[in-house]
Symmetry: C2
DNA sequence: TTGACTCGTAAGTGTTTTCTTACGCATGAT
DNA sequence: ATCATGCGTAAGAAAACACTTACGAGTCAA
């Protein structure tokens, strides 16, 4: 079975980060490799532990995390490079808010001049 | 100290861009203001026109597009600045693919720690 | 007015997501 | 061996999602 190496496609990453819990899980993994117990801790009041496991599975199938067994723990590691396609998709929109900021800058500049 | 609960406020935008059709609609709107007929044209073989309307509604409710009536057409305009939230969220991951050597260093460091 | 055109909404349906509880399988400790 | 720990999976329910067809409200043209 090579499910983990199977190409999840472009849609998998976008769908994976659509859920706030999964984004929070990724955010935690920025600190480094973490066991499920640590990852699930912030959600202990919100949802059951199997629910966190299922979110981790979605992330795994999207290729956003790697799993490795260490003793009786399972350590999850971030694979941030999978987020590149999101970054790439966003790139074409960047000029819109850059232009907007530039336009706002010019506007404020003009306001400032007329105020003198 | 940061709150460890997730932020549900931005969820609309992330959920909106999770669907490939909606991303394609946004991509199309980069060209400028467009009527629904033009926006729906690429999907005539794929899905019905009301389906496109419903996708546009999701985008509208996420604040990603504006709608304005012109004659009997409805023109949709991109509001790309709403995508900044996504960009901001991505920022914390950028270093992982921008600085490969640094990431490798951190990885080795973590490996060393787990080996204790 | 009549009729074509543009488009959204309503209602219904099948599918997917997201959660729950129950359970099982390893691993490590006693 | 026995038991606790860590975590995934199974099964099922509720809700959300993504469509469909039917219809109606505006707009423009003849």
């Amino acid at each position: 079975m090579q499910e983990d190496t199977f190409d999840a496609g472009n849609d998998g990453v976008f769908a994976a980060i659509a859920h706030p819990v999964r984004r929070a899980l990724l955010d935690h993994l920025v600190a480094g490799e973490l066991p499920v117990s640590t990852l699930a801790a912030p959600f202990v009041e919100t949802m059951s532990r199997p629910a966190v496991s299922q979110h981790l599975r979605v992330l795994r199938e999207a290729g956003l995390v790697d799993e490795r067994q260490a003793g009786r723990e399972r350590l999850y590691r971030l694979r941030a490079e999978r987020l590149r396609e999101v970054r790439e998709w966003l790139r074409k929109y960047e000029r819109f808010w850059q232009e907007r900021l530039a336009a706002l800058g010019e506007y404020l500049e003009q306001e400032d001049e007329t105020r003198r």
